[in-house]
């Protein structure tokens, strides 16, 4: 066995009451590729940010080459030969490649010799690792794959011996990803140590030597890649948690209420996030969409609810089209009985600076029941809010309190009360219990089941697999912008985990 390049001993890190990392011990061997897998929020990125000096651990020790070191800033990390390729590239978009490479690593006040040195160094790196890129190209004109290569070059130029890559393939095409893996293997052969953070098990199997699985802030297992299977990893990743039992009867699906056909959506950078997705949601059923965050679920529900414009495709609500590729108006969709509990309640679903009662009409503020000509019927609004507070047990029961002062669970209840009390025919719910306390989770789940039992169509998006499994009557799995499979509510965690990690779809494609 080779010596340890890095050793993490007893690392702890809390953000407020959330323990992002607890008692983490990890050994990274020199000249190997270590994979770290885990669901969203398992603490992978936090751990690596500590290693790179972006955060400080509350306790614990970092050893580089056997010696304990203090890494307080990225500078310290760089000095110890640690380089990082961030998930969101840390590049200056209107700079050239070479300018980005030398930024922060210029060796004197004038750029000329730094540039000359970087140029020859880049040539060397290109020769040795096949990392070719035009040093004078401007970043924003390069494809994403090449931008990432610049990030790798930046780290290598700084003499990185240990390279951390955070979800490196998220933005890459399969061909680009394969190229990246070739590069990583080459780097390994040259004696570099590589840490690969990902949630895609296929990548782990394809390239790593060892793999550590993280769950809820701890490392739950470390395996030699050759001696494990995707099934085992998937199980370790999602864990054998006690399924939250939700009392629900048999679904009685009725007519199709929401019908999505060939929907394609791009994000603001022009990256295709949803490609050619089709599905139906019937009255009286809950359709859950499972998937690791960032695989297009957010953009999907934004397009369906009229917040984000789709590139192509169609959506029918109760048999009538929604102008998803044109000027769909969320207000008009509400009138047609489409309610939406957005994923981001802090910036989208609520205005935190508003009083509770003001948020209880957000989006419905133009309904006649709240208006008297141009004026808001403030008493009607507040009475209405008080009624919802009582019905949904929102605490504290004060409709004049600033929304920011409610707990996460109660904030979510405010949104839910608002949307459900309009008695919509179709309900789209994103991450209904994110940041919500256990007591409220049960309440929220019961409300969603009740909606279903009243014959409404519910489309549920959640990164919590438990939640999807306990609520849904049908489960769709999204990976890389596509629906890669449909399963019944009895699907096992391992089965869904594999789909979420893109394993089956990739095998089918190959």
């Amino acid at each position: 066995m080779a010596e340890a390049a890095i050793e993490l001993v007893g690392i702890n890190k809390s953000f407020g009451t959330v323990r992002a990392n607890r008692d983490i011990n990890l050994v990274i061997e020199r000249g190997s590729i270590l994979g770290i897998v885990g669901e969203n929020g398992a603490g992978k990125s936090t751990l690596m940010s500590i290693l790179y000096g972006f955060y400080q651990a509350d306790s614990g020790e970092i050893k580089v080459g056997g010696k304990a070191v203090a890494i307080k800033t990225p500078n310290d990390a760089i000095a110890h030969g640690i380089g990082m390729v961030h998930q969101h590239f840390m590049l200056v978009e209107n700079f050239t490649v070479i300018e980005n490479v030398i930024l922060g690593a210029e060796h004197e006040a004038l750029l000329k010799s730094s540039i000359a040195k970087a140029r020859s160094e880049l040539e060397r790196l290109e020769r040795e690792y096949g990392l070719e890129v035009d040093p004078d190209a401007v970043i924003e004109e390069l494809p994403v794959g090449l931008q990432q290569r610049v990030e790798i070059l930046k780290a290598l130029y700084r003499g990185a011996e240990i390279l951390i890559l955070d979800e490196p393939t998220g933005v890459l095409t399969p061909a680009e990803a394969d190229h990246l893996f070739r590069i990583l293997r080459q780097l390994k052969e040259q004696g570099k140590t590589i840490v690969l953070i990902t949630h895609k098990l296929r990548e782990i199997m394809a390239i790593t030597d060892t793999v550590s699985v993280m769950r809820q802030g701890t490392v739950v297992a470390t395996r030699e890649t050759a001696k494990t299977t995707v099934e085992e990893l998937a199980e370790l990743m999602v864990g054998r948690r006690v399924l939250l039992r939700v009392e629900k009867g048999e679904a009685r699906p009725g007519a199709v209420k929401l019908s999505v056909r060939n929907l394609t959506v791009r994000d603001s950078r022009g990256v295709t996030m949803v490609s050619d997705v089709s599905f139906d949601v019937r009255g009286g059923e809950i359709v859950g969409i499972a998937g690791v965050a960032g695989n297009g679920q957010s953009e999907l529900i934004e397009a369906v609810s009229g917040i984000r414009r789709a590139v192509s495709g169609s959506v029918m609500l109760d048999g009538a089209a929604i102008e998803v590729t044109g000027h769909a108006d969320p207000g008009e969709l509400r009138d047609r009985g489409l309610a939406h509990v957005p994923e981001d309640r802090h910036h989208v679903g609520l205005v935190l600076a508003f009083e509770e009662n003001e948020n209880s009409i957000l989006g419905y503020h133009d309904k006649q029941q709240y208006l008297n000509g141009p004026f808001l019927k403030i008493d009607a609004v507040r009475d209405d809010a008080r009624r919802k507070i009582e019905k949904f047990d929102i605490r504290p029961p004060d409709c004049r309190l600033r929304t920011a002062n409610f707990s996460g669970g109660n904030q979510q209840k405010i949104v839910l009360a608002r949307e459900l009390e309009q008695d919509p025919g179709v309900l789209i719910v994103g991450q209904p219990t994110r940041g919500v306390d256990v007591g409220a989770i049960e309440f929220i789940h019961k409300q969603l089941i009740a909606m279903r039992d009243r014959g409404k169509a519910v489309l549920l998006i959640s990164v919590e697999l438990d939640e999807i499994r306990s609520l849904s009557d049908r489960i769709l799995v999204m990976f890389d912008g596509r629906v890669v499979g449909e399963r019944g509510p009895d699907a096992t965690e391992g089965e869904l985990g594999l789909l979420m990690a893109g394993v089956e779809s990739q095998e089918a494609a190959e």
Binding site: Y52, V92, E93, N94, F95, L103, E108, L110, L111
Partner: protein
């Protein structure tokens, strides 16, 4: 030949009125390229003009005036930095505040110290920067065209004027050929990239606003120690804003900034020159129209009708480390 002489004259006054614009515009360039918007150029320039004139009057030396002007202007720039870098306050609000503080205190202090209705005492030759005659300018005065341009247009300006125009290639060189310039441009585009590269975002931005302070100090100095022989209240009269307009017009680049300032200066010189004289074809152009033209042009530019002015991407946004 008479037309040519008139042209030389008008271009000469164009240069004179462009100098403070140019210095202030380059000042704004350093700050805004680093991602700190600065609508307080006007105030810093005014404070510099006052401080320079006051110190020059007291000590009888233009050089001491210059030093004090720069110090005062830098101090105000640091206030802006303190509010917008350290306390992540609103950069526009902070800039507005500095303009008012400068406008009020120059008058109050001027009146209190010198009792001349807000003016500083008239400066003697020692307290001012005199005109510099370039070598052989006098001998070449009568050589047609080349000589006239040399001695009538290029020669006879003050040190600060030459400095202002030298500051253009210098700024270009700093921005694009030095480590400081590279980092400065980077921090205005993507401070997170700078931070992860192990460079302090705050210290870098502070250095940028100090550069701004130095240059606005020089701009103020030029007005009170070169163009005029002392400080008059509100003597910058909106030049800080024109400089800001020129900066946008130049798309935050040094050489275009020079041309933008010369263009706006030319409009100014022309409007003084043409007061009341009818032009061929268009007839009499109201002087106010010429005065408003820089602002109108900037609005049209901002509207995206003549190319797009894309400000530094991180401009106006305080940097918060959390991801």
């Amino acid at each position: 030949m008479e037309f040519f002489e008139a042209l030389i004259n008008i271009l000469n006054s164009t240069i004179r009125v462009s100098v403070p614009l140019l210095l202030a515009c380059l000042a704004g360039l350093y700050s805004e390229r680093a991602g700190i918007f600065d609508i307080g150029l006007e105030g810093k320039m005014l404070a510099g003009a006052f401080a320079g004139a006051a110190a020059a009057a007291v000590f009888g030396s233009a050089w001491i005036g210059l030093l004090v002007a720069v110090l005062v202007s830098v101090a105000l720039a640091l206030v802006h930095g303190f509010a917008s870098i350290t306390h992540r306050g609103n950069q526009i609000v902070s800039g507005v505040a500095i303009n008012f503080i400068a406008a009020g205190s120059t008058i109050i202090l001027g009146q209190a110290w010198f009792n001349q209705g807000g003016r500083t005492p008239s400066l003697t030759a020692d307290g001012r920067f005199g005109a510099i005659t370039l070598p052989f300018a006098d001998q070449l005065r009568d050589v047609p065209v080349v000589g006239q341009i040399y001695s009538g247009l290029l020669s006879g300006h003050t040190l600060l004027a030459y400095l202002a125009f030298l500051a253009v290639p210098f700024t270009w060189w700093v921005l694009f050929r030095t480590r400081f310039g590279l980092r400065l441009r980077a921090v205005g585009e993507n401070p997170a990239a700078v931070d992860t590269a192990g460079i302090s975002v705050a210290w870098l931005r502070y250095r940028a606003v100090i550069c701004t302070g130095v240059l606005t100090g020089l701009a103020g100095c030029y007005m009170s120690l070169s163009q005029n022989a002392g400080f008059v209240k509100d003597m910058t009269a909106g030049r800080g804003y024109i400089a800001l307009a020129a900066l946008i017009f130049a798309k935050w680049k040094p050489v275009p900034a020079m041309f933008a300032c010369l263009l706006f200066g030319f409009l100014d010189a022309l409007s003084i020159r043409l007061q009341g004289t009818p032009l061929p074809i268009v007839g009499k152009v109201p002087v106010q129209f010429m005065q408003a033209l820089p602002y109108v042009l900037t609005v049209i530019l901002l509207a995206g009708f003549i190319g797009k002015a894309i400000p530094p991407r991180a401009g106006g946004v305080p940097y918060v480390k959390e991801r």
